[in-house]
């Protein structure tokens, strides 16, 4: 650990940043630029979740050229590839070193309270008091598993996507994968390839081709402005913040991973897991509709790309518009599965994540366990980072941290200068804050 990382001592500091992932480190860099004294508290190591809470084969869903942090563009030789987890950990750790971030590792925040306009932070390695605080502990602290998991018979091995590493953890035999986001599809494909027949329970999902008209779909998302879309411009902020990750995989051949690819390989699709009763899993009869919703939305997205390309002239050197087959659903979709028959030996829950704010004793968490915030401004002097669509669609992306820490860093600096009152400011359409 560089010497500088130890410069802050337990005690009083202007800002405490919780979490030394890419968001927390980007904010630390911004605060250093603004000469604001701060400390970054990290329960484990730098980039801890990337190190310990991801499966072995995972690669980023964004191409390397997009992986940038403030002052640190991608510098490798494979701009169109996708980083594996070791590479992400290397990228984030190098960033922490280069920026000399004042990180306290192996320091778990146990309790945060607001007292007399400042924050009291207790950790297992001493206490801090700060005028402002940044929550950069991520949105994926706990696996979110439906209540019906409790009704799964004991003989079935269960694991969440947070603990899953590779198919070898699972017993031989059939596997029910629940969830059809990027996670569910990637695990379904890898587990099925390991010789364990997979049944995939599919609810609402987001379908996207990996490449479109010769370009990575993330290029289109960025170039056409979709990733920069501001939360203030969205009709239904609650819905967009809850969208599952698009069905994508980062692989060397830039392959598209969709439900058609899985069924072609022999994966059985069923509807959303609706419940488990007397050892029987029950699946919703809505499979056809969730698939046609996803197909229609994908077509609208690609049409929006085409329209953008035609308007801006970007289309000229490009391959023509492409069409993709509708999601194929068999004539007869099983509505139930007897979990005691021996056909299914394990269940993999790829049903999403939720943040853990049990340590945050400030009344800013709603009844669904989500942080209430206005574009990342939570309360006077209290900020969030890295949450889905927090300020912009890209807020939860690595490259999304740059704009968010610039905006929130400015706001935080003004707060410390007492230029901002108690009420959090509101976002306007151009994402500038009204102070």
């Amino acid at each position: 650990m560089p010497r500088q990382t130890m410069r802050a001592r337990t005690g009083i500091v202007d800002v405490v940043v919780v979490g030394a992932g890419h968001s927390g480190l980007a904010m630390s860099h911004r605060l250093s630029e603004l000469s604001i004294e701060h400390v970054v508290l990290e329960r484990g190591e730098i980039a801890n979740s990337w190190r310990r809470e991801r499966w072995d084969s995972l690669k980023l869903l964004t191409p390397n050229w997009m992986s940038r942090l403030p002052g640190a563009p991608y510098a490798g030789h494979d701009p169109d590839g996708y980083m594996n987890m070791d590479q992400v950990v290397g990228f984030v750790s190098t960033y922490a070193e280069k920026t000399a971030a004042p990180v306290r590792t192996s320091t778990t925040v146990l309790n945060v309270e607001e007292r007399d306009g400042a924050y009291s932070v207790s950790t297992d390695r001493g206490d801090w008091r700060s005028r402002a605080m940044v929550i950069a502990s991520g949105a994926c602290n706990e696996a979110s598993v439906p209540v019906c998991a409790q009704a799964v018979p004991d003989r079935i091995f269960q694991i969440t996507s947070k603990d899953y590493k590779s198919p070898g953890q699972l017993p031989e035999g059939g596997v029910l994968v629940v969830g059809a986001s990027a996670t569910g599809l990637q695990l379904a494909q890898e587990i099925h390839s390991s010789g364990r027949p997979v049944t995939l329970a599919v609810g609402e999902h987001v379908r996207m081709p990996r490449r479109y008209r010769g370009r990575d779909v993330q290029w289109w998302m960025l170039a056409s402005g979709i990733l920069d879309e501001c939360i203030a411009d969205v009709d239904d902020p609650v819905r967009v913040r809850r969208l599952p990750s698009p069905q994508l995989i980062g692989s060397e051949d830039h392959a598209t991973l969709d439900l058609n690819a899985l069924t072609a390989g022999g994966v059985q699709l069923v509807g959303r897991l609706a419940g488990i009763r007397a050892g029987k899993a029950q699946f919703s009869g809505s499979l056809r509709n969730v698939c046609s919703l996803a197909d229609l939305k994908m077509r609208r997205l690609l049409k929006a790309f085409d329209d953008w390309a035609a308007t801006t002239g970007a289309a000229d050197p490009m391959m023509p518009a492409e069409e993709f087959n509708a999601t194929r659903i068999g004539n007869s979709v099983p509505l139930g599965l007897d979990l005691n028959s021996g056909e299914i030996r394990s269940i993999v829950w790829a049903t999403g994540y939720r943040p853990d704010y049990s340590w945050l004793k400030v009344p800013v968490v709603d009844r669904k366990g989500q942080l209430q915030h206005d574009g990342g401004v939570v309360a006077p002097g209290l900020y969030a980072l890295g949450l889905p669509f927090m300020r912009r669609r890209k807020s939860s992306f690595i490259h999304g941290a740059e704009d968010d820490v610039r905006d929130l860093g400015r706001h935080l600096a003004a707060y410390l200068d007492k230029k901002i009152g108690v009420r959090p400011p509101f976002l306007t359409a151009n994402s500038e804050m009204v102070v």
């Binding site: 609402e204 979709i226 879309e229 969205v234 009709d235 967009v240 509807g271 959303r272 609706a274 419940g275 009763r277 029950q282 919703s284 009869g285 809505s286 509709n289 969730v290 046609s292 919703l293 229609l296 939305k297 077509r299 609208r300 997205l301 049409k303 929006a304």
Partner: protein, 191 residues
């Protein structure tokens, strides 16, 4: 990217749905989740044979007792080929009535919200059923439908994809679609 793009930019589609009121209710009920808890009620009296009459009148919602403008009654019976008198639709046909009514109402509301003028909406429904189930001939055959097919003919000033998208969104938001496609806990008591 999720915003609707209609082929025609009509300013004022009118499908007879008060979307502003619905959106207002959604806003209000987000703030007051208790008021969103409804109880739907029906009472049924046996008349004779397989013929019954079900009455729908009161329900509970927005925190208080509510009443329909009129009392509605529905006779159900079995057809003559089941040696009954056919005094009303079969109960399973009323399930189709519920599904069609719910999806079609949803289509009107979604189209209104997307500012798409509907000219004609017609649904045809067909549900398959192997009555070996209800007759107890084969225990592997379920009592209920083995599938439901709903077909919509829609005339509206919108592209085929936009119309398909309205129908898909209506299914996504439909109570009866959910009731049919997902299990529901049913408690029956006597006393």
């Amino acid at each position: 990217m999720q915003k609707q793009q209609t082929t025609s930019k009509q300013a004022n589609a009118n499908n007879g749905v008060n979307v502003e009121a619905l959106l207002g209710a959604r806003e209000a009920l987000t703030q007051a989740p208790e008021a969103a808890r409804f109880k739907w009620r029906a009472s049924c009296e046996w008349l004779n044979g397989t013929h019954s009459r079900t009455t729908v009148d009161e329900y509970f919602g927005l925190g208080e007792a509510q009443k329909h403008r009129n009392v509605f009654q529905f006779d159900t019976d079995h057809p003559q080929i089941f040696a009954s008198e056919d005094n009303g639709a079969t109960p399973v046909e009323l399930v189709l009535v519920g599904l069609a009514g719910c999806l079609t109402a949803g289509i009107a509301a979604v189209a209104q919200n997307r500012n798409i003028q509907l000219r004609k909406v017609k649904a045809t429904l067909e549900a398959g059923m192997d009555i070996q189930g209800i007759l107890g001939i084969d225990s592997d055959v379920r009592n209920g439908f083995d599938g439901i097919k709903v077909h919509y003919d829609i005339d509206a000033d919108a592209s085929a994809d936009d119309i398909a998208s309205i129908v898909a969104q209506s299914q996504k938001r439909s109570a009866v679609f959910d009731i049919i496609t997902n299990p529901t806990d049913v408690t029956v008591t006597v006393g």
